[in-house]
Assembly symmetry: C3
Amino acid sequence: MPDASYSLSELVRRFGGEALGEAAVRVSQIASLSSAQAHHISFLSNPKYRSQVAQSAAGALIVGRDMADQFERPRIVADNPYVYFARVSALFNPPPAAEPGVHASAVVHPTATIAHGVSIGANAVIERGVAIGANSVIGAGCVIGPDARIGVDCLLYANVTVYHACELGERVILHSGCVIGSDGFGLAPEAGRWIKIPQIGRVLIGDDVEIGANTTVDRGALDDTVIETGVKLDNQIQVAHNVRIGAHTAIAACTGIAGSARIGAHCTIGGAAMIFGHIEIADHVNISTNTLITKSLTQPGTYTSALPFSEHSVWLKNAVQMRHLDSMAKRLRTLEKKLEDGEK
Amino acid sequence: MPDASYSLSELVRRFGGEALGEAAVRVSQIASLSSAQAHHISFLSNPKYRSQVAQSAAGALIVGRDMADQFERPRIVADNPYVYFARVSALFNPPPAAEPGVHASAVVHPTATIAHGVSIGANAVIERGVAIGANSVIGAGCVIGPDARIGVDCLLYANVTVYHACELGERVILHSGCVIGSDGFGLAPEAGRWIKIPQIGRVLIGDDVEIGANTTVDRGALDDTVIETGVKLDNQIQVAHNVRIGAHTAIAACTGIAGSARIGAHCTIGGAAMIFGHIEIADHVNISTNTLITKSLTQPGTYTSALPFSEHSVWLKNAVQMRHLDSMAKRLRTLEKKLEDGEK
Amino acid sequence: MPDASYSLSELVRRFGGEALGEAAVRVSQIASLSSAQAHHISFLSNPKYRSQVAQSAAGALIVGRDMADQFERPRIVADNPYVYFARVSALFNPPPAAEPGVHASAVVHPTATIAHGVSIGANAVIERGVAIGANSVIGAGCVIGPDARIGVDCLLYANVTVYHACELGERVILHSGCVIGSDGFGLAPEAGRWIKIPQIGRVLIGDDVEIGANTTVDRGALDDTVIETGVKLDNQIQVAHNVRIGAHTAIAACTGIAGSARIGAHCTIGGAAMIFGHIEIADHVNISTNTLITKSLTQPGTYTSALPFSEHSVWLKNAVQMRHLDSMAKRLRTLEKKLEDGEK
């Protein structure tokens, strides 16, 4: 629970925008319209929730320019109220504080380099040759493998695993259970058995990347797997070896990306999408939830293969015809031919 | 291997039902019909396995009323033989015993409140302000974040992570690798970059909930993510921020539920289903395996979008027509029109 | 970075094949054609990359017999250049070295049996009755539950969890975050609630199995879940209770296999496939990415149900017709009937 409170004037001095109504009103936390109280500031980025404002007990609002004059309540008018809300919330809700220093139960190899201000949690393990940049937080139970490098101001929550020689940029956030640098799935078939291909590449993660809980990013087979600056990965995503994800691309949960796929910059990929290996996806591509991308996409746009659902008995009747589409197409052609012939 | 043995009479006194045949026969473990031996009790809940009974060496059986008189073997007749089996099995197979007390290698913050009978495993970490209810078991390597609350009689297997301020009810079971309370995927786009929305809600988990291995439940953005009493989640499920799952709903593995979806009570959701965000699903809905639910479901029933598979070359021929369905529909209409016109 | 270098002659003495060109040239690492330097050996297993050879700075090549005479460069001619490459790479890149011995911070129960040459990492936990075979490596933060057995020469990366009584064969590799032996999803419905079925089987894993990061394998309900020798599982796969996976089957990431499914030997299963429970899949079956297998497959072959994607607006027009396929089929039949009648 934050202690500090800010007047609307103070917020505007800090983040821009314009305060309307009583600008001296003080707020100390963000809340949704429905749960806000007098010391909360709420926000309205979608006009369809406008009617909720009257019932809301929020002490103040963040609204867009188009709604600047629709309320009496103390308010901040911002170009992008959702981003403004994010900034105010970050002010009120800094990441969980972590005391600098190495917890007595953590195991830090004497050859590791730990910069000033770093916090290493209880029972974390830092292997030989690791370097951790200033002010980074390594959560309890994390294991950082030999020769890995963690940049400055990173935040690794509890029980993250980073394999040997992987590198994180600055301000990277890794959530619990995520695994960076596990072996790619490289196998050569020989006489009915699989021979393992050693995976000797690394994972390189750029600045300002955030990776969700239990997401896995495999190290490269020969060259590196690369996640560029500003990429955001949700939970339980699988990134195979030698994938490259372009800057500022955001990918929702449960998506899988097969080996050596190259995803462009500024893409958005919906949940549970699957991307084939060895394909290239252009910048500014949007891929829908549950969509399977089987070949390269050279043009920006939105691509989809997800099926609409139906009530089960209806679905059964339609789905069975999926197995007859080729024959239906042929029968349709035959009928057209017959009618054409008849017309002649 | 359990030491205690029970006669059928003793089991009936404890769990109800009726013992037929030699009720003094003693059994000490449950087994399937095919692997049971003389000291085992087996069960028959599906009449199609009836023929296996003759070959089985099981010392006793649990059967339904409809099959009470079809066997000579010592048996317990129960209304619901599968539930009866579950109860007997729970008697023979209590969860792995854990010695009460805090293991010397565990790290417990002095401000944490640990009730009597609690067991905290080796190298577990209990952060500041945590409260753990009586007789709960925290497995080795678990990390319980600041101010989290664990109810009484909970069982957390090894390497579970619970983030700060999350709350578990009573008798909650969490399997290894599951992550409770990681940040939801909240991002505001600004000038081609993503601004992080702090996730300040919690995860609230009701009584008698079980959550499988490597399942992730994100904390709410503003309000809380809520999993109601009696919910059962299988492995590798993703529950996004501000989802609410109604009481006694069971969800199979690999399912994903997007942000702010509200799932009703007493639902069953098949494996690898995907549920869109911001929709509502009524009570008593069944969703099939691999089904994508894209809008609210207001009526109980079963809903499906999973496709039947085919041999690959057959599939290719049919799947290519998926891209021509709209044109096929139009051509069909044209033909119907022509014939109607011809008939006139 | 490996120190040792080998001449082509030495490699041929060790692994077979034939050295052509200057066989005394020495190499010390494997690299891709594009990043190789003079001390690297590269390989060409796919003729379509032949043109890259001229630009490559690789000091030597591994090539197939069909390309033996197409280059001047020092080269090894092999029957299977990809497998040859795997062997040379394994020579240059042994798994990360681990010092034998139990780290001071690890917790090993006095009743555990640790063979010679075993390495137990920092903060690992070995519970009572565990047996670990010679030369196995247990990574930092791993938890091995009571009475589990790990064979010789196994390699468990950091933060792996093995539940009680599970058994691993020899040379098994488990990647970080994988969970072996969590409870299967066994529930009996009773009066709107779920009664838990104790899961008393184990997980048995054969020799030379590799299991990827964050993959989960549930223990059996009554009998065991079995993964046979030589099976390779990628990341984030879910294997439910009582599944059996036949020898030398390889399964790509994000696949789910429901309870009691029996997968044959020498199968390949693409990413994000879903396999129904209680079905049998023959040996030598290939299942495509994103494919749902709903019934037993008795014949070798390739099976598919994944849909081709389209640009979104095109997809919408076609997908809506999916809901009318049954009616389209009927209308088609009606037209055919009319024309037949007309012809009569």
